[in-house]
Subunit: 140 residues, 4 copies
Amino acid sequence: MDFRPYKHKAQYYETDSMKIVHHSNYIRWMEEARVDFLEQINLGYDVMERAGIISPVLAVECEYKSMTRFAETVVIAVRLTNYTGVRFDVEYEMRDEASGELRAKGRTSHCFLDQNGRPTALKRRNPEWDAILRGAVFEE
Amino acid sequence: MDFRPYKHKAQYYETDSMKIVHHSNYIRWMEEARVDFLEQINLGYDVMERAGIISPVLAVECEYKSMTRFAETVVIAVRLTNYTGVRFDVEYEMRDEASGELRAKGRTSHCFLDQNGRPTALKRRNPEWDAILRGAVFEE
Amino acid sequence: MDFRPYKHKAQYYETDSMKIVHHSNYIRWMEEARVDFLEQINLGYDVMERAGIISPVLAVECEYKSMTRFAETVVIAVRLTNYTGVRFDVEYEMRDEASGELRAKGRTSHCFLDQNGRPTALKRRNPEWDAILRGAVFEE
Amino acid sequence: MDFRPYKHKAQYYETDSMKIVHHSNYIRWMEEARVDFLEQINLGYDVMERAGIISPVLAVECEYKSMTRFAETVVIAVRLTNYTGVRFDVEYEMRDEASGELRAKGRTSHCFLDQNGRPTALKRRNPEWDAILRGAVFEE
């Protein structure tokens, strides 16, 4: 499957005293891109919420390769790199739209929790979603 | 009654490309100071939440008088200036701790909503809180 | 002149415990919309920066009319309502894209500062920009 | 050397729709704690800035172990775990103050840049700081 990359234009309030985007905002951009990716495979937050499932962030990492400045647009490619039925990992490549220069690489890990905050195996609880996620895993 | 002013040290992530604190953060600082004020009169968010009442922001305004820089501490004086039983207004004076210079003046307006999102008159629903708020209104 | 309204899709990180967008974010959305408006009249931040002029926020106000939820798109209409040569005011009307419901109304005031942080009259310093701004003022 | 841990009280605007602190804020808290740690060893941002040195974030990672709720205070222990003369790594352990429960573990990597944005070896440029950092590295 081919997914539409996500675009974010850097806002003024995202910059800091170094006149670059503050590093914490890339973590937020990864969320924006992940939400968009999940919508593309019909697993948007609204769908999950109606099913009483949330998908919290277990871990996040980001390597900063070059600086983003105000008003630059960053293109974020998202890949589901791992899905075990109870956990999944997402990788992100962020590039400057104009130059193609690599801005940052990131990764997040997630699980699924039910309404009582208990870990949930999608395979049993929701085989349809399980199939979607298996099909969406990136393969080189 | 005399209230303890609230202090906030400006964080690096709160600055912007002008090397000053971004103006949107003062709105957040007002919330910090208001939460602290409400705790001082025993009407903290936890107390309200247990009673099933929330107190959303109806309006906000802020005048910026001078700039706050990274690592400066701002002292925020809070005054309950109006309480009608269904609404209340809070005013804020933010000064640099070191110099006493006025940084900003702000104001927020609030109501009370019950669990169904309906406006609630504290006077009927919670006479004890009503008395606390009446007593906390600032009088010159 | 007719201006393209600005659109912002509410992000998950912009929500708070009330499951609505935190009120401070509307202040940031107004900046996004203002930046976009100024670009439309060829007075983007990059143009200003090259000319050594910044345009800080002197005052902000916002009235909240209804709540924005995660993933809703807000359409922001921007109007330059006042321009004196040394100051300008901008008004914002934020509506839910799907329903047209009014979310919030806001206003910001600005001046122009030169590289030394001194107030600057555009009329003398930059007659071309002065003409653009005069022409962009909204008239009923 | 023994360092004072940093404390942060979770703010309402830091929560999200899950009624917990949004994961991106831990990245900001790590910055707060790091700034405080560097001040404790007399290498605050003001000192660095006067010397024309900045210390950007090269990489960040965070593992989330339990959730932080509004108004809870998190105690952040900071350790300089590696310093090579041109790079350093900082580790963070964030615990709930009331219960001692582990909230999150994090790590950031940094380098030093001079005014022209070029990597700088502190050993040559500033032997005094180099000695301070060597002495501050945590040893089990």
